[in-house]
Symmetry: D3
């Protein structure tokens, strides 16, 4: 499924940096998770997805206010109830890699929070599954 790729750009604001222009790790993690969830919602065709797993993260982040981060997501695998994504983050102004995330896993859940079989096996570019 290497052909699928979703790119998201985030604008770094002063509140995302410490005094020495290092990105707060927690902020980057929040972006990573939220934008991945938006992809999972469109792929799995449900607004109810939860984060189940995130693999280890090495931060090599450095940025100035106004820099653009580019988050490049790929689909690793469709599971029975899950979707696994990977992501690499680059500071587009410096060209440096900020971090690489091997796997973040989302699960489709019903109204009781139980995982269910989502029935998807192939990526989609659109959002038509949400209107199913």
């Amino acid at each position: 499924m290497n052909e699928y790729r979703q790119t998201v750009r985030k604008w770094v604001k002063p509140e995302d940096l410490n005094q020495h222009s290092a990105l707060f790790g927690g902020r980057v993690l929040q972006w990573l998770d939220e934008e991945a969830a938006i992809i999972a919602v469109a792929q799995l065709g449900t607004r109810s997805v939860v984060t189940r797993y995130m693999s280890e993260v090495n931060f090599v982040a450095r940025a100035e206010s106004g820099d653009l981060l580019q988050l490049d997501y790929r689909i690793v695998a469709f599971g029975r109830t899950s979707l696994t994504l990977s992501c690499s983050v680059e500071n587009t102004v410096t060209g440096q890699e900020v971090l690489t995330l091997d796997r973040i896993v989302f699960v489709a859940v019903d109204e009781n929070g139980q995982a269910y079989a989502h029935g998807q096996t192939e990526p989609t570019e659109g959002t038509e599954r949400l209107r199913g």
Copy 2:
């Protein structure tokens, strides 16, 4: 320049809605402007862009918590110091149009806030202009 298109998705949270599941107009306007600015930064090759103009907006918004909005931006024109974008916003869950924005104009500014000729005339898909 109709071939260029940039798509951004936003997840609607409870704090974006009033008691009757109507989107707050101001929240949508903030998203429209911020995501357009991110496009302008990559197109004009500078982190210093300011919003100069936004055309009229008709809100036909309705959403529930968890809905995905899709913002589809197109480039209308490169000016000498400016970039003009248009945008249509759709609720991907209901398939309904939320609003259409004919024009939002950004200007590249120097450190004194003065507009300058940015030298760009064609769209780019990437972010290479920020590393120029």
Copy 3:
């Protein structure tokens, strides 16, 4: 109805500015809408109002952290289901005009999000319509 005027002041914080002390357009639009909605609520006597329309906006904004913006609202017209306001925004520290908004329109909606006749035709200074 030119006699009615409502003034709101907003304190500019660092997070409202880009690196060159230009106000983010989206932030100003959010303030414009939210404070106008607060006026509409008191005038129409219902907490359920939605933004229906905003006319074009030219930004001539410049500010420093700590500056005060003054938003001066006037009532343009009471419609059957709507209220139309105008607004001019000034940076009170520099005395400069930030923008002028000709029309922002709110509609009173019922629990199904349908517009209804609000029955108001004259401005009020108070909030007594909310206790009707």
Copy 4:
């Protein structure tokens, strides 16, 4: 100086309430302080004011999402380096008093954070002192 009165309205959002529709005390205190500071800035003619004192507060707060709070400020006294305000807060939908604050004191400070004599002795309705 009883004739001077400044009224500010705040819209209650879901995030300002606990599960039983009680306003978070800390949120109301933040509004009380921030809006009072905006008044102090205009009265003392400087963007550099700090909160020095707040008298005791009894909370009798109850609100629903969408309610409007009205904060009525009065000027208690101009000191040599300070300004003292009082405030009463009402839920305009229920007509109930939320709290009464006897005194909140701001001080004008220079770039070293030291209080200085601001030279003001009378209220103003406008913002002309900021352009002095």
Copy 5:
């Protein structure tokens, strides 16, 4: 009950400071209330507590971005329906006292917002009362 003590640390960010590195009073008050409420929840064994009273506050605050504030809470008294705490706040980088709060009072409320007898008379270090 002097032996009970709860310490909370807060990291000062640029958005918590004015231009002259003075802490916004409203921000500190919000922290004071929110962290005290978290203590009240664990002591009273209910998620439904409301702030009823806060005694006067003298601000002697000064901080830089990145400073750590330490909030030291003590339990003053268990009432029939209430809990009274005190708090002193120190800037741990400068060693200076930021403020002292003699009393903040929380009340346990039922689903109608009415105070009820919580039945607690002694402090606990843990959170076992929330699972009662």
Copy 6:
């Protein structure tokens, strides 16, 4: 160093949950990082710390609005330029484990963002290293 333990409690608000009362993963990660950084600042005696590494995270999170999360941090190791912490997170209302984090690593950095030897080898309960 198993004897050192730092406990932090977080109050879950509606904005931290999705429609099915599942905690947003990104929000929990942000809390994990920010509270760990506050510990690192006190242990390493510098306000300039950056997150370098976070090990994998399994989310088994479920919460209601008003629930208290308890984050229990332990010190794993002092490195030459780094500090490694672990953390377990519990929902104190249900008594359930939310997640376990084996390692989060912070590095002390100078004004150029370069790691330096912090000289600490033992935990401290206090904040005295910040006044060194």
